[in-house]
């Protein structure tokens, strides 16, 4: 582990620390929102240790607090985490070593650790950045969530300090970079309009899943292009 620290330059270590700090603020809000929403403290704490994926944790808890079913909460969280699958294929080489190291390493595969790993120029440094960021992030995230859960019990009324605005704000900040793509933006906006429109009439948790229908706006273009390419291929 010590050699990992020396492998990385100071700029990278500083950036990793800043990201951990940012995630700590988000984690503390997550703990506080969950507990003040009426759920027991073991849920945010256990979820953070075992799931360790902020967006999915917020999504699942958001559905539960809105009164949605277990299935809707699980589905919402899992759909968000499907992005970890391509991450693992793109950057999976940083997860190596003996079998137990690979089992642990896979658990800290996140947006942040993959981003830091991919910014490094060679395999040794990629692996060092991944391990250092993974370890620090896991520790700070879980401590922050536990602290937030403890504070949430003390605060009681988190609406008074505006914590109910934090969850949608985090979701928005997470997704904005992806919306540069126009097809994706149209799909996301259409999905959001539909989700809000059906909220008064559908059971809680379902509206966001209905939004996935917006995906048809992304797909046809890609399918058309693929068809056209295939047609051109056969023509030649």
């Amino acid at each position: 582990m010590r050699s990992f620290w020396r492998t990385l330059d100071r700029g990278t270590l500083r950036d990793i620390a800043l990201v951990c700090l940012a995630d700590a603020v988000v984690g503390a809000s997550f703990g506080a929102i969950t507990v003040s929403g009426g759920l027991p403290a073991w849920i945010p704490v256990g979820m953070s240790l075992l799931v360790f994926a902020g967006g999915a944790q917020f999504a699942a808890i958001g559905v539960l607090l809105a009164g949605g079913s277990a299935a809707a909460a699980i589905l919402a969280g899992l759909v968000l985490n499907t992005r970890l699958l391509p991450y693992g294929f793109a950057a999976g080489d940083v997860v190596d070593g003996p079998w137990w190291a690979r089992l642990i390493g896979a658990h800290v595969l996140t947006d942040e650790t993959v981003a830091f790993a991919l910014r490094q120029p060679d395999h040794r440094r990629r692996r060092a950045a991944f391990c250092v960021c993974g370890l620090l992030l896991f520790v700070t995230w879980n401590l922050a969530v536990a602290a937030g859960a403890a504070a949430g019990r003390l605060i009681g009324n988190t609406s008074a300090i505006g914590l109910d605005a934090v969850f949608p704000a985090v979701m928005l900040a997470l997704v904005l970079p992806a919306l540069a793509d126009r097809g994706l933006r149209n799909a996301a906006l259409a999905g959001a309009v539909v989700a809000v429109a059906v909220t008064p009439v559908l059971p809680s948790g379902l509206p966001v899943l209905v939004a996935l229908a917006g995906l048809v706006l992304v797909e046809p273009k890609g399918r058309l292009k693929a068809l056209r390419r295939r047609a051109e291929g056969t023509a030649q």
Binding site: L64, L84, F89, G162, A165, A169, P200, S204, L212, G222
Partner: protein, 103 residues
């Protein structure tokens, strides 16, 4: 019981997504189209979550204070403000509006 199920299923599924890449990347590849669809689905879901959480509470309107807080946060996020600043701005805006009597 239901809460245990949510945590356990989410944890197991998430770990499977994480472990598949490192375990199988030398043998199989995720097709480009599938990986693009997955990231599109995540983006659509995130925006839908943000919109419903910003606008609705239960089956009705959530109130102007929360909406304003999220709007300020969104503006900051567009301007690439760091995430902690976005989070704090959302909470502070909403809290101040409520303090001023806006629900």
């Amino acid at each position: 019981m239901m809460q245990v199920l949510v945590v356990a299923a989410l944890a197991a599924g998430t770990y499977a997504f994480r472990f598949a890449g490192p375990a199988f990347r030398s043998r199989i590849q995720v097709p480009e189209r599938v990986s693009r669809m997955l990231s599109a689905a995540a983006a659509v879901l995130l925006i839908a979550l943000a919109a419903t959480a910003a606008l609705t509470q239960g089956h009705g309107f959530a109130g102007w204070a929360r909406l304003a807080g999220v709007a300020v946060a969104g503006l900051l996020a567009v301007r690439r403000a760091p995430l902690p600043a976005v989070v704090v701005a959302a909470a502070v805006t909403t809290a101040l509006l409520r303090l001023g009597g806006v629900s």
